[in-house]
Amino acid sequence: MGLRMKKILSYLRSMRFGILLLVLIALLSVAGSVIPQERELAWYVENYPGAHPTIFFLQLYRVFQSWYFLLLLGLLCVNLTLCSLLRGRSLLGSRERLLSACAGMKNSVPLSGEGLIRLEQHLKSKGCRSAEFGRTRVYYKHLPGAWGSFVTHLSILLTVIVGAMALTLPQVTDMDCLPGESVTLKDPNGGTARFTVSDFRTNDAGGRLDFASRLTVTLPDGRSRLGEISVNHPLSFGPYKVYQQSYGTAGSVTVTNLQNQGSDSFALTDLSFLSMDNQSGVWFVALYPDYLINANGEILPVNTGDPAYPHPVYHVQTVNGEEREDRLLFPGDTVEIGALRFRFDEPLRYPGLRIKVTPSWIEPLLIACFALMIAGLYLLFFLPPVLVRLDDEGYAVGGPKPEGMRLELMDLLNMDKGEAHS
């Protein structure tokens, strides 16, 4: 390997480079959190009249997908890989290596015989074990703590990689589905998966507290699973995960053919014309959650945004030949036009489903990375290795993180400041 390559590798794995990358990622994250992301470009022109050219040039409207942010993440992965390799290599045979390195430390803090006895008793009371190296004795504990830094860095690297897969590989589809109806989705392995909502309920009038759907997922091979989904409780089956994402309210009308008394019910979500001959019938315009009555006694429908729809009002337009009339109707009202009777019912609630297709191995793997990171940090901060060498001359504190033990022993032995520590 050439000298230049060595220098480059050395810089890429250096702490200085890692810190630089972290600072740049943090700064870009600040920008990405302050400037709303992924809006229409016109929104930025309107809201950042002076700064929008800079925002567009630097892609600050989509910071987290910009090439330079992804490049920084890539470089961070390189830094973490090299760091992990370096740390991992130094940990091979770490127990013996740590003990012999501690035993071989040159400088000792001088200590009298009485002090050494006190120190030894203290270390034993702390649960330290000992190993003999000739006339030197090494007291030690928490040696697995030496792996903390390696495990932490490796787990961060794995989390970034697997996390990126978890964000990019799944295919997500949002669908509304009325109770009693089904939606279908092309299966990644061919065929069609079906999602049938049999029931939707809200725990309170407005659905603020909770809302849930009962649904059946049917895979292309015919296998099916019935389950209930609510917020925080998705249903997993095959490669699919179905989330209770939102809910909506639709109008409901029962249309009866007065000639043969046959009837059918329809959900009304969008502007639609209910007719048998396309000439006469009812245009459904809108459903309002509430209304006001003005000083003249007129009813004014209002869109309060109240999800409970406390006083629903239908806005329809009846069409009878050339005659057209705008009308406001309440649940229970009926309208007869030609041979059809329209009875407007209480509004229906329906769920908004989010269907995610994801490789089954991603989530367990990512959660394993998370667990590894917590374990690494626990080793790093809560189990720092303790290595203390004792001989006739005095003692020395070794290991990768000797600071805590040095201070503890200084306190124990009540030493003066400026003590020389190895």
Partner: protein, 262 residues
């Protein structure tokens, strides 16, 4: 409940006044009174949180008021533990007012008990938000210890044992807070996947939790550099505290997103 909250607030206030006077006039007895007042305030504070939890029939961590109360309680708890473990009596002078300030913020928030919204009804609720309480508290206490280091550095030799102990205490507090902040972020990611279908959405609260995490990760790395002056690191943890507070309160107020629960 409101009365009990203001009794708690008043008790902390008296403890802070007594501690301030004890520090200003160097009165040991007054410092002891301040500490006992603080312990009494903490006991009442714990009672308040338990009662609120019993009445609400959930952990009292669901909005800014409840989180701020728990945050102040976390600061107080860590201070009590630290004083017991490390005999760091000096920490009280900065940590007591910090707990009071957070509680003052709580007092300015709406205090009514509300039902949990659907997104918060999860087994992760306690782990995610409880970890945030301990993480933020540890960072605030690290900042308080940083103040002590800076103050001590003016009069004492920077290599002396007390300064080294303070520096090490800052490191331990940051390490503790960092571990818990990692739990916050990772448990939040698992929860977000269950609630919103994605582990990470770059929501402002998530982003600022990551920014805070990076800030303390940089501290932990800088501390490994032998040339770094501990006084600079002490300043670093002091300056980092406003970032923690922004992540806690500022983001919800100024950068609305999926975490804007009130």
């Amino acid at each position: 409940m409101n009365l009990l909250f203001f009794v708690v607030f008043g008790a902390y206030f008296l403890a802070v006044i007594a501690q301030f006077s004890a520090t200003a006039f160097k009165k040991e007895k007054l410092a002891r009174i301040a500490w006992w007042l603080f312990l009494a305030a903490f006991a009442l504070h714990s009672l308040f949180l338990v009662l609120r939890g019993v009445i609400a029939r959930r952990l009292p961590l669901s909005n800014q008021f409840e989180f701020a109360c728990a945050f102040a309680w976390g600061i107080a708890l860590l201070l009590i533990v630290l004083r017991d473990k490390t005999k760091a009596d000096w920490l009280s002078a900065a940590a007591m007012p910090a707990a009071l300030l957070v509680l003052t913020y709580a007092a300015l928030q709406p205090r009514e008990i509300t039902e949990l919204m659907p997104a918060l009804r999860s087994a992760w609720f306690g782990i995610h938000i409880g970890s945030a309480v301990f993480s933020y508290s540890a960072f605030v206490l690290a900042g308080c210890a940083g103040l002590r280091y800076i103050r001590g550095g003016k009069t004492a030799d920077p290599d002396d044992r007390k300064q080294r102990q303070t520096d090490y205490l800052i490191y331990r507090l940051v390490g503790f807070g960092f571990l818990f902040l990692t739990v916050v972020i990772l448990s939040g990611a698992i929860w977000a996947e269950q609630a919103w279908s994605a582990f990470w959405t770059w929501d402002p609260k998530e982003t600022w939790a990551l920014i805070t995490w990076i800030i303390y990760a940089v501290y932990l790395h800088l501390r490994l550099r032998r040339k770094m002056d501990p006084a600079v690191l002490a300043w670093y943890v002091i300056i980092a505290v406003p970032v923690v507070l922004f992540t806690f309160a500022g983001v919800n107020t100024l950068l609305p997103g999926l975490h804007s629960y009130g």
